[in-house]
């Protein structure tokens, strides 16, 4: 069994192409079913976001499956394969694990360390699980990737710090006021920038948003467009300032509209309640000296951009630690993955033993038929237990093998010693094992005879 990944992402494909390859829009479940019908992959999970479309599969032979997957992507999305091929990347086996772990950790994201991707990976796996296209190998792979995502989040600073100006502003407001739900926001200026910022603040569940503009009609229109905001005329500016906790200035004025002295006067009736001023206007709306006033926190767009840059630099410095975690987890997954090479042998061995047991019981059936049903059940149980006990250590030993040379040497030896010729597909056997709790098809036993 091999692992294979075929995909395109923001690293290899332009946005025009990524838009056209969107499994999400066409239905992930349909995509998974269509993929399963082709029969080239035993297990499949499709991860599809606006930045990537990736097929994770477990298959028998990677080279052939790779071609089929590219053809599938092109067929399913109606994109000519010649157009697609130059942008497609593919990796196999442990490199698949490394890639998925880096994706889940946010190391492969457009914005380093962004948190949404882990949820998207989880969703992709859930959908594949529900569609029954994910199996033991991919289940293990994806669960390991969730663990990587969680470890990177808690053990490194890769996801910490806001990396966009609007989130930086909200994070700052949180650091000053704690909970924002009881806070009032004033937006000065009814232009597009002011409106966008007001909408962003509104989404943070603040108590109240007031728009102030030199033209009352503009303010009213913007307030209406936002919904749930109110408008105030310019003459009310001082009262609005005194009642607000967060003030966003975004006018097109050529000179500052709020001087330091003006704000100092506003602060007096506020009894020094903190005031957070975000000046996103260019040129500035607020005199820089206002930032010196006690309990006034003044940030302009450059300051916010500077904190964003700092946060990005801090994230970049955490990459090495995150990569170390990824390597550790790839190593761990690798030893599990290699140990799976022995599973067909284990299954064949168990089936062989069980076949012998059943054959013997059938051979002795005429002698046992005189026994009462309870005794027959006991015989069945005892023979079953003997087989289980005999197989316990060899099974454990085979499953603990974690390099392919040892696996093939042991397989060879087992085949010879126990004449294991017809090996069934491990996929089927694995399913069988899962449903019957490790037991092979039991000898017919009368019910109710067990004590």
């Amino acid at each position: 069994m091999q692992l294979l990944l075929v995909g395109i992402s923001h690293r290899t494909a332009p946005v025009e192409l990524r838009e056209r390859i969107d499994f999400q829009a066409r239905g992930l479940t349909d995509a998974l079913r269509a993929l399963a019908q082709r029969g080239s992959a035993r297990e499949a999970v499709v991860v599809s976001t606006c930045n990537r479309a990736e097929l994770y599969v477990a298959c028998d032979e990677a080279t052939a499956t790779r071609q089929d997957l590219v053809r599938f992507v092109s067929d399913f999305n109606g994109v000519a394969s010649g157009e697609l091929t130059p942008h497609v990347y593919d990796v196999t086996d442990l490199e698949v694990a490394r890639h998925l772990f880096r994706v889940a950790a946010g190391l492969d994201s457009l914005v380093m360390g962004e948190p949404q991707i882990l949820g998207q990976v989880k969703d992709a796996h859930t959908i594949a699980s529900d569609a029954h296209t994910s199996g033991p190998v991919l289940n293990r792979l994806f669960h390991s990737s969730f663990a990587v995502g969680k470890r990177v989040r808690t053990e490194t600073g890769l996801g910490s710090g806001a990396v966009s100006v609007s989130y930086a502003a909200v994070a700052l407001a949180r650091k000053i006021f704690g909970d924002l739900s009881g806070r009032s926001v004033a937006v000065i200026g009814a232009g597009e920038m002011g409106k966008l910022t007001a909408l962003h603040m509104k989404s943070q569940a603040v108590k109240h948003v007031t728009i102030v503009s030199r033209t009352m009609a503009h303010a009213a229109r913007t307030a209406e467009a936002i919904g749930g905001a109110s408008a105030a005329p310019w003459e009310e500016l001082d009262n609005v300032l005194a009642a607000s906790d967060i003030v966003i200035t975004a006018t097109g004025a050529a000179a500052p509209i709020l001087t330091s002295a003006h704000i100092e006067a506003v602060m007096r009736p506020r009894r020094n309640r903190p005031l957070f001023i975000i000046d996103i206007a260019m040129p500035r709306d607020v005199e820089a000296a206002a930032g010196e006033i006690e309990q006034v926190f003044l940030y302009n767009i450059d300051d916010l951009q500077a904190t964003v840059r700092e946060n990005l630099a801090r994230r970049a410095s955490e990459v090495a630690r995150a990569e170390t975690i990824v390597n550790e987890e790839v190593e761990r997954f690798g030893s599990w993955f290699r140990s799976r090479g022995a599973i067909p042998t284990v299954v064949a061995l168990r089936e062989r033993f069980e076949a012998i047991r059943r054959a013997e019981l059938e051979r002795l059936d005429f002698k046992l038929s005189s026994l009462p049903p309870e005794a027959r059940a006991r015989v069945d149980e005892i023979t079953h237990l003997i087989v289980e006990k005999l197989l316990l250590t060899p099974t454990e030993q085979l499953k603990a093998l974690d390099n392919s040379e040892a696996v093939s040497a042991y397989t060879e030896a087992m085949n010879r010693l126990f004449a294991l010729t017809n090996q069934p597909g491990d996929e089927q056997a694995e399913r069988g094992r899962q449903t019957k709790g490790g037991r092979v098809e039991p000898f017919k036993r009368p019910t109710g005879g067990r004590r």
């Binding site: 808690t154 700052l172 006021f177 704690g178 909970d179 020094n272 500077a306 904190t307």
Partner: protein, 275 residues
Amino acid sequence: MNLVPLVLYAAALVAYAWHFAQRNPVLGRSATTLLVAAALAHTFVIGMQTMEVGHVPVAGATSAISTFVWLLALSYLYVEMTTDERAMGVFILPLLVALQAIPGFRPGIEDRAPVLQGPLFGVHVSSLLFAYASFALACVIGITYVLLFKEIKAKHLGFFYARLPSLQVLDRMNQRAIVIGWIFLTIGIIVGGIWAAQARGGYGAGDPRVQAMSLEDPKIFVALLCWFVYSFELFAARRIGWGGRRAAYLSAVGFVIVLFNFVPITYFFSKSHNF
């Protein structure tokens, strides 16, 4: 046995500092566990002393420090568990370790002076110790407030920004600690005055220390000074908008006076409280 709490407090200090630097949740939980263990060991030591001498060991200066450390550790644990904030631990633990070193290395069996008796004496000492523990917390919260405030003002969002709760939360916690401390300080001072008046006329009439209990004694004078500082802070925060950074500075100043009164004045200057 006396050293066990000290060693555990020191271990908790290391864990809190490490947690503060690394922000690893496992380290944080181990830090709390160590502090809980230290507080339990300390409870045991104080309990043993209580059984040994027949009363809670608060009458001597050294044992009062030990009891204060114990109360502060418990108050801090209460704050940590109710707010789920561990960042303050790294600031409070050095104080615990430094103060606990005194009873740790100078255990000295407490022998209570015969004049120190009556229920009022117990109320006096325990409410003051509790007040001091609250002020210690307020001071530490105030220091963290100022550190965070400076980072935000300077527009350099770094170390403390990533680790401390919001300014608003710190300010509220600081105010709450001051209010609780102020109430107990007031009770402690009033009850102390009543006790001294009773003792002077009765069982303490012959003791020079009881006679020295007046405003001229440095210990009593500084305690009243504390009361004025904290009363002013409460008034200023409510009436003239001296919240935030000014309140934080005032709570630091107040606690420096408390600490000064608690250790050097008791040991070296006071004529009335050197039991």
